[in-house]
């Protein structure tokens, strides 16, 4: 979360894109301001709670800077340092301070806990990479942000996660027989795709576990905000290709490539998912096709946030049974937003005029 003064002074790529398109997305803007205010409140409450070895990390809508009335406060205390029983006491103190400042974390118990850097970093793949571990790791990249005074433990762990994905992806540094080595990090891309599929499978699991309770709202979130974070991850992987990010790396040596990609991905993941797309659109501002898609993409997302911000609609969707959904006018309207959003995402990645088209076919599908 860019809650400190320096980051807040940097103009968001979304602001720049909205000016370029002469469009306004008021709910995106309101939700961002609400997130910044909430983070400032949390920063104050957490004063003195963390150190160079620990960071409080927030996830979900707060990390995406899309904070609305019904948003949860999902957080963990990340530890990246010597084992110390004091960390549990720190957790309890933080939990107490945050309890009054936001709705408690979700039911799956991934949040509100201590998180240790070692399993996140060392257990990628294999039997020990549990659902919770994969979730924490991928969210660290796509939808997480440190709050409070000390951000460095989080930044360190994020860079190390990326380092693993990059250094173990031998195709990045091995020359192909003909032509140059690839730039798109496939190990990372595949893990993010795995996480996306896990979310979709868990959607069905929750349906089974909870007897369809909350199905309508969950379905909407899966098709819009969950899809957004995965799509922004896919985009970040494609961004590594100099043709997509329009950066000149002709003078780069193999030795430097891993550092450059680490830095490039880090910069992308410092942005919110919506900002990643805004940055991409701004880089390809000459493409009429993409700019027209950009307008639809952001407008639809703005509509989605408007829906979440309306307490009555949100409560209605939360309590709606699956039997009633198809005939319910509010759900039908919400579903139309989801369909429009899915269409815009398809245009960005699969449209034949999109620079991402070929990458999506050759790397994103098979």
């Amino acid at each position: 979360m860019r809650s400190n003064v320096i980051f807040d002074q940097i103009r968001s790529p979304i602001d720049e894109l909205s000016e370029r398109l002469q469009a306004v997305w008021p709910r995106i803007s309101t939700a961002k301001h609400a997130a910044v205010e909430k983070v400032a409140e949390l920063d104050e409450a957490l004063a003195g709670e963390t150190s160079a070895d620990t960071s409080v990390v927030v996830y979900g809508s707060l990390a995406r800077e899309e904070f609305t009335q019904g948003s949860d406060l999902d957080w963990t205390l990340l530890v990246d340092g010597q084992a110390n029983p004091q960390h549990q006491k720190d957790l309890l103190s933080i939990r107490e301070k945050l309890a009054s400042l936001g709705k408690a974390h979700g039911r799956e118990k991934t949040f509100g806990k201590l998180t240790f850097s070692h399993p996140i970093l060392h257990m990628i793949g294999g039997e020990d990479d549990t659902n919770a571990n994969t979730t924490r790791r991928v969210l660290f990249l796509l939808e997480a942000s440190p709050i409070g005074k000390h951000r460095e433990a989080f930044m360190r762990v994020r860079k190390n996660i990326l380092h693993r994905y990059l250094t173990e992806d031998h195709g990045l540094t091995r020359k192909a027989d003909k032509g140059s080595a690839r730039w798109i990090p496939l190990f990372l891309l595949n893990d993010m795709a795995r996480y996306w599929r896990t979310m979709t499978v868990d959607f069905a699991y929750k349906q089974w576990d909870r007897g369809n309770e909350g199905y309508a709202l969950r379905s909407l979130k899966l098709g819009v905000s969950r899809k957004l974070i995965y799509a922004s991850g896919l985009l970040s992987c494609f961004w590594c290709d100099p043709l997509i990010s329009k950066e000149d790396h002709r003078q780069t040596s193999q030795m430097e490539k891993i550092y450059i990609l680490n830095q490039k991905l880090n910069e992308m993941f410092l942005l919110t998912p919506l900002e990643r797309f805004a940055r991409f659109f701004l880089t390809h501002v000459e493409s009429r096709y993409l700019i027209s898609t950009a307008g639809r993409f952001f407008k639809t997302y703005d509509d989605f946030l408007g829906l979440l911000e309306d307490g009555d609609v949100r409560s209605h969707l939360e309590s709606l049974s699956s039997d009633e959904m198809d005939e319910d006018p509010e759900f039908r309207a919400a579903r139309a937003i989801r369909t429009r959003f899915e269409g815009a995402v398809r245009e960005i990645f699969l449209g034949t005029d999109s620079p991402l088209h070929q990458h999506t076919l050759s790397r994103g599908v098979f």
């Binding site: 010597q82 360190r156 790396h249 040596s253």
Partner: protein
């Protein structure tokens, strides 16, 4: 091959004369005289005429790492009395009033900090320090950079971003409490990955806390890192 030397503080804390004794006769052409505590600075200044430093082509002085704003003018005044071909290594977080340090110009070498400090740890933070002292040069502490970012991406970015300022390297290994230790094989491998970006005339100053009997072993490790650049043909292959 880069010049190699030791920090006197690493060999004999607070006793530069003993450290210089240990260095005599070793195949080393660089040295950093340590005055990390304020009280050491006047003692070192007084001793300079009597020190035999003929063996060294490169001499740096490490300024005190912490002092008050009221002590700062006196520290600056004492530092101006040292030979003007000596570099002055300074922790950026120790500075209260950067204007007082401007007259040192390129003699000043600002050092990147370990993770306990709240400034000077990254390229972004060091850039702000250099904007306050624009003529200052750069002392890259590889151990600090590695502690801040174990992937060595920040070390790479330091070497790329400040290539025109770099004048010396600090080398050692840090434990999690930021104490300097002898280099491990892991650190040798990590430092070797970026060593090819260090210009050949830039001295490596060893900060590992070693006994006199361990000095040769530590020098051999640093030679291995310094020579890794020449051995590694991989660096030249375009991406």
């Amino acid at each position: 091959m880069n010049p190699i030397g030791f920090s006197t503080g690493a060999l004999a804390l607070g006793d530069f004369r003993l450290a210089l004794e240990y260095l005599r006769g070793k195949p080393l052409t660089a040295v950093e005289l340590s005055a990390l505590r304020v009280s050491e600075l006047p003692l070192l200044l007084k001793a300079v005429p009597s020190l035999d430093l003929n063996q060294f082509n490169y001499i740096a002085l490490h300024a005190p790492s912490s002092f008050s704003a009221t002590e700062e003018p006196e520290i600056v005044r004492l530092l101006t009395r040292f030979p003007d071909d000596w570099k002055i290594v300074l922790h950026p977080d120790a500075v209260h009033d950067s204007v007082q340090w401007l007259p040192f110009g390129h003699r000043l070498a600002l050092e990147n900090m370990d993770r306990r400090k709240l400034d000077g740890r990254s390229v972004e933070e060091m850039s702000r320090c250099f904007s306050l002292m624009p003529e200052a040069q750069f002392c890259l502490d590889l151990a600090h950079a590695q502690q801040w970012d174990t992937t060595m991406t920040e070390a790479y970015l330091f070497l790329r971003s400040f290539s025109n300022r770099i004048c010396q390297i600090h080398i050692s290994q840090l434990d999690s409490a930021s104490h300097h230790y002898p280099l491990s094989e892991g650190s040798i491998r990590a430092f070797s990955e970026v060593a090819w970006l260090i210009p050949e005339d830039v001295p490596f100053i060893i900060e590992s806390r070693v006994s006199s009997s361990e000095m040769d072993g530590e020098i051999a490790k640093v030679r291995k890192i310094a020579s890794s650049a020449a051995r590694d043909a991989y660096q030249a292959i375009p991406a």
